[in-house]
């Protein structure tokens, strides 16, 4: 029934040898099992050493994600807090997702937009997209992330280029989280005013990936994995990666691999700012049940561990999380947050009937999020960009 066979092993043209994606594939075939064993066998002394280390690597990430490290959560938090303040200051950058379309040709078992779900579908016109951007600008936002379902004809390259251009006319910082494209298309988006590319691999576990992506172009795992490399080659300044926590039944495996991916991107694309997102699965149309929900303590441990091992990498948190978790995690390593989000197309400039991608948990307005950050001693930053690369 699948229109596209699942592709888990890379073809050379899809996965250049000198790429972060190739590094991740090598990691999956070699390092990951060893690190999972490392996490499984970690002792309190190992945790102590990794917390105290002045430089940390993926071995430390395994140790810091281990069960003995969970017993030292406050120590991890103290070290992560200190490192975050030193590297980023008491600052959280705010952004908003702008949903273009919930039309989707792919079947992904966990997603509200999945093609089989009988939901109200809508694709904004370019003018409507501009109106949404204007409404968000009036709420203070200068960083917008354009998000869309995957449909190559309805959410086409030309449409995306026009949307980026319309939004770039309103705000200085535009990023995209849409279906993955080739390098020339990413170059067109950069030329139109896009400075960032966000691509979640969803899960790095190839078996789980195949089991949760049933139809559509997204079934090509290596092509998706190498999208950040293509975006960087096209001139994107910011690269975002992430794993959907709860999709794979071993969250540590996905956490280690997203760490390895971020590390590889930082090293291969040293001019780019890399950000890791840590979305937990939320209720959505389709009623998907997480294979293994990640609880609050585990998410905190993960934020601290990633901060300690990747001190320069941004960590992004969405409104999927509760106000309490978001305010708490801002002190431990999170550097950017969405706020006041709508996850359906339309909804900022006017009410929308379209179905959201998932339910949000933090329903505070952007102004309320900003004042909560200020009360905690943090500066909510709306504007932090010099715009996309030119020429």
């Amino acid at each position: 029934m699948a229109t596209v066979p699942v592709i888990l092993e890379p073809r050379a043209e899809e996965l250049p040898p000198e790429s972060a994606a190739a590094d991740v594939m090598a990691f999956l075939d070699g390092g990951l099992d060893r690190l999972l064993e490392r996490a499984g066998g970690a002792t309190a002394a190992d945790v102590d050493r990794s917390v105290r280390a002045s430089r940390r690597g993926l071995d430390d990430l395994a140790v810091l994600l281990s069960a003995p490290a969970a017993d030292r959560l406050e120590d991890l938090a103290a070290a992560a807090h200190e490192l975050t303040v030193r590297r980023f200051g008491r600052v959280v950058r705010l952004f908003a997702p702008l949903y273009l379309s919930n039309v989707c040709a792919s079947t992904c078992t966990y997603c509200g937009f999945s093609a089989e779900n009988e939901i109200a579908r809508r694709t904004l016109s370019v003018d409507e997209v501009g109106a949404e951007a204007r409404a968000l600008r009036h709420r203070g936002f200068r960083h917008l992330l354009l998000v869309s379902g995957e449909h190559a004809r309805i959410v086409s390259k030309d449409y995306l280029v026009e949307c980026v251009r319309a939004v770039a006319a309103e705000v200085p910082s535009v990023s995209v989280e849409v279906q993955v494209w080739d390098t020339p298309t990413y170059r067109r988006l950069v030329d139109a005013g896009c400075e960032g590319l966000v691509v979640y691999q969803e899960t790095y576990d190839r078996r789980t990936y195949a089991a949760t992506h049933l139809r559509g172009k997204k079934r090509n795992y290596p092509w998706r994995l190498a999208a950040p490399d293509r975006g960087a080659a096209a001139g994107m300044r910011h690269l975002g990666v992430g794993a959907l926590l709860g999709l794979h039944d071993d969250w540590r495996a996905d956490a280690l691999t997203v760490g390895a991916h971020a590390q590889a991107l930082v090293r291969r694309w040293w001019r780019c700012q890399v950000t890791v997102s840590l979305p937990r699965l939320r209720p959505a149309a389709g009623g998907f049940e997480p294979a293994r929900p990640v609880d609050d303590r585990e998410l905190v441990q993960l934020v601290c561990a990633l901060r300690l091992v990747l001190p320069d990498v941004g960590l992004s948190l969405s409104t999927r999380e509760s106000p309490e978790m978001r305010d708490g995690l801002a002190r431990l390593g999170v550097t950017q947050m969405s706020a006041g989000s709508h996850t359906e197309p339309g909804g900022y400039a006017a009410e929308s009937e379209a179905e959201p991608q998932f339910e949000i948990s933090d329903t505070r307005s952007p102004a309320e999020v900003a004042s909560a950050l200020r009360r905690a001693g943090y500066d909510p930053v709306w504007m932090d960009t010099i715009g996309p690369r030119r020429g």
Binding site: R49, R52, A53, S54, R55, G57, D59, L73, E74, A77, A78, A79, H81, E82, R267, R268, W270, D296, R297, V300, E324, M325, D327, G328, R331, L332
Partner: protein
């Protein structure tokens, strides 16, 4: 930076060629060819660098005569070059003379501290890499320059610990840490290493190798000093692979940072 590996199978690979020794030797400042040959043997090195300007095929005893015929790679250096054009010319002369095409790219326009010129070094590296040379550039400890050199195809980067011949050790330590963290090619700390302990320090930081000359060439007993450096480099490397513990930190936070979880 290379990932830590098993200490017993820990080879450094540069441009596809494995090296068991992580100590590279400069050949200037030795009192005699005999003492140079003895130091090379005692150091266990597999790569020595020779200034092309010191090579004289017409002399009765040339510096190349001190070098063992096998097992040690000759790295011609462009020392004396003031700019990219001169360095490229010297490298091509070396190739024409039948020397290996591995080049230590060294462009030092000012004669007092012999500090490398970053602009000319990058220009020359681009030309030489495109021309098929294996290029190992001597540079200041500048992390961005090192990334740029890596991008044009250099086989290593060789940042200085302090300026040539100064014996001042790792004055650039903080920048070296960044270079080692970021580099995708081996990092060789070159210049300024004046004592075995300083070589060990570079290796503990995670450097892939060190290049030493003055400290060995001007020692009272060059061969004995070469042996001491051999041990120091190996000790530092093993320490790095074993995973050095960090300093203890004072315990902190008056109010818990994870209180929101309760």
């Amino acid at each position: 930076m290379q990932q830590p590996a098993d200490a017993d199978h820990d080879h450094l690979v540069i441009a596809g060629r494995p090296f068991r020794s992580r100590l590279f030797l400069g050949t200037g400042k030795f009192p005699s060819n005999a003492s140079l040959a003895a130091a090379i043997a005692a150091s266990g090195t597999e790569m020595v660098t020779v200034a092309l300007r010191r090579v004289d095929p017409t002399a009765s005893e040339d510096i190349l005569d001190a070098l063992p015929p096998e097992g040690v790679l000759l790295l011609t250096n462009t020392s004396g070059a003031d700019d990219a054009e001169e360095a490229v010319r010297l490298a091509r002369l070396a190739r024409a003379a039948g020397l290996p095409t591995w080049i230590k790219l060294e462009i030092t326009p000012e004669p007092r501290y012999l500090l490398p010129d970053p602009v000319e070094t990058l220009k020359a590296a681009e030309v030489l890499c495109a021309d098929g040379f294996t290029v190992l550039p001597y540079v200041n400890a500048d992390p961005v320059l090192c990334k740029r050199l890596e991008e044009v195809g250099c086989a290593t980067v060789m940042p200085l610990g302090s300026w040539i011949g100064s014996n001042q050790g790792l004055r650039t330590r903080a920048a070296l840490e960044i270079i080692i963290e970021q580099s995708l090619v081996p990092v060789v700390v070159d210049a300024g290493i004046g004592a075995p302990s300083q070589a060990a320090e570079a290796m503990e930081l995670g450097a892939d190798a060190v290049l030493v000359n003055t400290a060995i060439g001007t020692a009272g007993d060059p061969a004995a000093m070469a042996a001491a450096f051999r041990l120091a480099v190996e000790a530092g490397r093993r320490g790095f692979l074993a995973g050095l513990p960090g300093p203890a930190r004072a315990a902190a936070a008056s109010s818990p940072l994870t209180g929101f979880l309760s």
